[in-house]
Symmetry: C2
DNA sequence: GTGGTTCAGTGGTTCAACCACTAACAGTAT
DNA sequence: ATACTGTTAGTGGTTGAACCACTGAACCAC
């Protein structure tokens, strides 16, 4: 790895490549409790510097994939019981297509939590946030950006920092795949309708309405995404 | 808030100390878009090596606190729109006591999602998982370990990997604070009752019952925790 | 057995140097 | 004036070698 013998496209940093490489190796071929080679050996195997390997290992540690013990070594953790949302995100991007089961997981959780938070937001929202909502609807951003902003406003109005962070997770994924969804004009108008209706529910402080409005649009979204997915991959839907 | 308050001193690694230091500095005194000093300057300021600083910066990057741009520098991100659950966790442990608002956030989200997942689990659980549930109830672990295991089983039975990872987040926190909760014998028997009832609901595949049983115990838990908290900090409850 | 010592192997940290990228600027050609 | 080009300073990215700190196992003395 010392010299770029070929004009390869190295868009990622070296330690990021090592993160992906080791993550795949760990998930696919190793088991909890297994010991990873020493930092020196990994560095030698990959023909990179030990410091670079260490930066990659620090990231893998934060993903919940490994545990680094001073004086002992590096051990594989059970990602089912120690993995976090960052690992989930990486699993999405490791493959070139998002696995269908992962997609289902995502939409299932989303449908559970978002309507409830919209209901809570309707009770806690203040004038300033109402105005922000109106300006989001009126501005000239793309519908994708608007929708992301609306959900962020729901989180802000809910006054729940944990939901704010949870939403960041959803949005980071949706930002990458959402453009596909909004290529369909029907989906665009459906979201615009959702934004308008939710604003009214917020203005009147009607939590039940906020809940149902949000639930309905998520169910619509779900159907559309499944339809799209099974159209692209007829054997998986 | 670790259990072993005696005997174990602060033996954090140097780069971990730097993570905490920089995280506090960023959250408390800096704003999104601000530029952090260069790696070389930070290393000089803290009188540590640049490689050590870099390992800390890699972690801060994964927390969503900073963005590192090759050739440009290190920039503060808006943690409200880029922070993740790991950052939320760090915010809990940065202070010596868990802030009340954070506690509320946690319990609010937990109460929304866990009963729904229990209902889903009741529909997807298989014989093997039923047996695992029974063995959890019968074994001799502490009630804290049992309760963590029961929730893990709910996640496993739900067949939702994302919820599995979300639960890891909750459990990592509950593992550190839960022993306080279970010091109360009433709370212990309440959880044991929950485990038995949920097992029956799972056996009969009754999703509504699984939902309400889980919701009830979470509401009980919530009240107890709030009561405990306002007893310790009378001015905040 | 018990307790202390040594030793090899591991992660943690340091140092100095160089590579690769970015922005800003000055100079040039058009 | 405008657009292009090369230079340069400052930044993060990577390297190599060395040493420090911790762990477990083997060994030894009692």
């Amino acid at each position: 790895m010392k010299k770029h013998t070929l004009g390869k496209l190295h868009k990622n940093t070296l330690h990021q490549q090592i993160v992906s490489l080791l993550a795949q190796r760990i998930i696919n071929t190793m088991h909890p409790g297994d010991k990873l080679p020493s930092e020196r050996d990994i560095a030698a195997d990959l023909d990179v510097n030990r410091a670079t390997v260490r930066e990659a290992l620090k990231k893998l540690e934060m993903l919940g994939l490994i545990e680094i013990r001073h004086g002992e070594g590096i051990f594989i953790k059970d990602y089912l019981t120690s993995g976090n949302l960052e690992l989930f995100k990486m699993m999405i991007y490791l493959n070139d297509t998002i696995p269908f089961s992962i997609l289902q997981n995502l939409l299932e959780i989303r449908k559970i939590i978002v309507p409830q938070m919209a209901a809570i937001a309707s009770q806690n929202i203040n004038r300033e946030e109402i105005q922000l909502f109106e300006s989001i609807i009126e501005n000239n951003d793309t519908i994708l950006e608007k929708d992301l902003a609306v959900h962020q406003l729901i989180a802000k109005a809910s006054k729940n920092l944990l939901y704010m962070f949870l939403l960041n997770f959803f949005n980071q994924i949706f930002r990458d795949f959402g453009y596909l969804y909004f290529e369909n004009p029907d989906n665009q108008t459906r979201s615009q309708k959702f934004h308008r209706e939710l604003l009214e529910a917020f203005k009147s402080g009607n939590s039940k309405k906020a809940f149902s409005i949000t639930q309905n649009v998520l169910e619509y979204t779900e159907k559309r995404i499944y339809a799209y997915y099974s159209q692209i991959y007829p054997d998986r839907g």
